[in-house]
């Protein structure tokens, strides 16, 4: 796959063009990947048995199920690497030149942050990283770990990892252990958010992978601090 890139300025222009014309200006070389992504999106809606109008009421389910499919497609069929996934120009291109219509279905066109404006908030990029940081080795195990989360967990996980880069093994361990908590209880107590805030403070002095017992013991410590127990 020869990934094409846009600058922020170019993507801003392409976004305005998409909004005014309502048509997608996808180049020929991207028509196959465009079709593939659209099919995944349609498959996600039918898996949830919803139509396009019901996306906002099912935002998280759409995000994580579509995210899982997108992650597998980009990695397995189009050889997406972490280096590529960290390159904002690639996501800008996909967002405004290939599938802006899908982002519009999810967010409407009054959220330019999700199309081009905030490189860290681009919907497709956020989904890819959410799945990457939650990956448990295969599709089904990852789906199982993510099924009871909400869009707040996406934001907290993908956004809160600071300026230092993601600790991938820690994130995956955290997501696994978090899924073992009672879904009702964790919603009420916002425990994920609290654990991420505590983590941000702790990593100033402690490196999770260097703790005796590794990331697993480190995540247990984050939980114990708030007095919760895994089920």
């Amino acid at each position: 796959m020869e990934w094409l890139q846009l600058t922020k300025e170019q993507s801003s222009e392409a976004f305005v063009e998409f909004c005014s014309s309502g048509t997608v200006d996808c180049p020929e070389s991207y028509s196959e990947i465009q079709k593939d992504i659209q099919e995944l999106f349609v498959a996600t809606l039918s898996e949830l048995n919803i139509d396009a109008e019901q996306i906002s009421q099912n935002a998280y389910k759409v995000d994580y199920l579509f995210g899982l499919k997108l992650y597998e497609l980009l990695n397995n069929r189009y050889n997406m690497t972490v280096r590529m996934a960290a390159t904002e120009g690639i996501w800008l291109f996909l967002s405004v030149k290939v599938v802006p219509d899908l982002i519009a279905l999810r967010y409407g066109t009054d959220h330019p942050d999700r199309f081009w404006k905030k490189p860290k908030r681009l919907w497709l990029r956020v989904l890819w990283w959410y799945i990457h940081l939650s990956w448990q080795g295969d599709y089904e195990s990852t789906k199982d770990v993510l099924k009871d989360n909400s869009t707040d967990e996406i934001l907290q996980l993908v956004d809160r990892c600071g300026r230092d880069g993601y600790r991938v093994d820690f994130c995956r361990e955290l997501m696994k252990k978090f899924s073992e908590l009672n879904p009702e209880q964790r919603k009420q107590t916002k425990i994920f958010r609290k654990m991420m805030v505590l983590n941000t403070a702790k990593v100033q002095t402690v490196e999770p992978s260097l703790v005796d017992g590794g990331e697993s013991a480190y995540v247990d410590d984050l939980r114990d601090y708030f007095g919760y127990t895994w089920k």
Binding site: E9, V82, M84, A86, R163, G165, V168, T205, E207, L210
Partner: protein, 318 residues
């Protein structure tokens, strides 16, 4: 962030020297078609234990997309026993580990490399570890820190050791750290040539939301030069800056705009840029910090900034 105040003793320069902690130069190499080739560090700036450099391949083959990067680091601790006990950094019966902690903001990644561990009862301790970054993993630059950390806590610290760190995973100090630029040379001022009648001779595009994260590259900062403008020829682009006062004016003004834009954008965090501490390599913040601290530009107000930029070019180019 790495400057966080510490509640327990950490490795000082004095203790590093006393304990005889020494490292060999970092060895970098890569695998290409079944053979290993060395990579070198160029443009090294800073001190021996804290520096920045650019990755260079004499064969011009290495690329982060297609090749791995093998890092080897070795060193010696002559008197490890001095790191233990009340005047050291951990209790007498704890175990110290050595690790590499690397991070790369522009790769969105952070990782650790285990080097080894030792207790109080060893003589000279040698470490030597290799690590492979896979192809397609790294982007921009990496920051590498060789650290000591608490590997295993003390079962029974003496009463005079209770002030020492005793939580595993705690970083006890840095032996050596460096920034390694792996893509490009990081110093290119992005200039685009356009052909747009009815537009000015030049303009600046600046679209960063966060100069601490955004790269000083054409995603965020571009100087546009308009070939359709009647005065374009006067720029004498192909001559050196020295022979084109107009082009020099354009560059000076563009840099003025960029610095002022960053200053207005970051407002409260401007001090971080001025101090130049813990800035990610290759970011807009780091570039501006370089202008201030290395080129001596005066950003106290717009008048002084314009003056000092011109002054800099006058003194250094003419």
């Amino acid at each position: 962030m790495s400057k966080a105040f510490s509640l327990y003793p950490v490795l000082s320069d004095a203790l590093t020297e006393k304990a005889g902690i020494e490292t060999e130069p970092t060895e970098l190499s890569y695998l290409d078609d079944g053979d290993y080739y060395p990579l070198s560090m160029e443009d090294i700036e800073g001190e021996s234990r804290r520096f920045s450099a650019r990755l260079s391949d004499v064969r011009c083959v290495w690329s982060a997309d297609t090749h791995n990067l093998i890092l080897r680091k070795a060193g010696t601790i002559q008197h490890p026993d001095l790191l233990f006990g009340k005047d050291g950094i951990v209790p007498h019966d704890a175990i110290i580990g050595i690790a590499g902690i690397w991070s790369s903001k522009r790769s969105d990644l952070h990782g650790t490399i285990l080097f080894g561990k030792f207790g109080m009862r060893v003589n000279t301790y040698n470490f030597n570890q290799e690590y492979r970054f896979e192809s397609g993993e790294l982007r921009g630059s990496i920051h590498f820190k060789l650290v000591l950390y608490l590997k295993e806590s003390s079962g029974q610290p003496y009463t005079n050791e209770l002030h020492l760190a005793n939580q595993t995973g705690i970083v006890l100090g840095c032996i050596e750290e460096f920034d390694l630029m792996i893509d490009g040379n990081g110093s290119v001022f992005p200039i685009y040539y356009v052909n747009e009648p009815d537009r000015p001779l030049w303009w600046v595009h600046f679209s960063s939301d966060d100069p601490f994260e955004d790269a000083f590259d054409d995603q965020n900062v571009v100087l546009y030069l308009n070939q359709a403008h009647p005065s374009y020829g006067e720029l004498k682009i192909n001559d050196s800056l020295r022979e084109s006062p107009l082009f020099l004016e354009v560059i000076s003004s563009a840099l003025y705009i960029i610095v002022q834009s960053v200053k207005e954008l970051v407002s409260d965090e401007w001090d971080e840029i001025v101090s130049g501490q813990s800035l990610e390599q290759g970011t807009i913040a780091e570039a501006v910090s370089y202008f201030i601290n290395k080129l001596g530009w005066d950003t106290s107000n717009p008048v002084n900034l314009a003056l000092s930029i011109h002054d800099y070019f006058d003194k250094n180019l003419r």
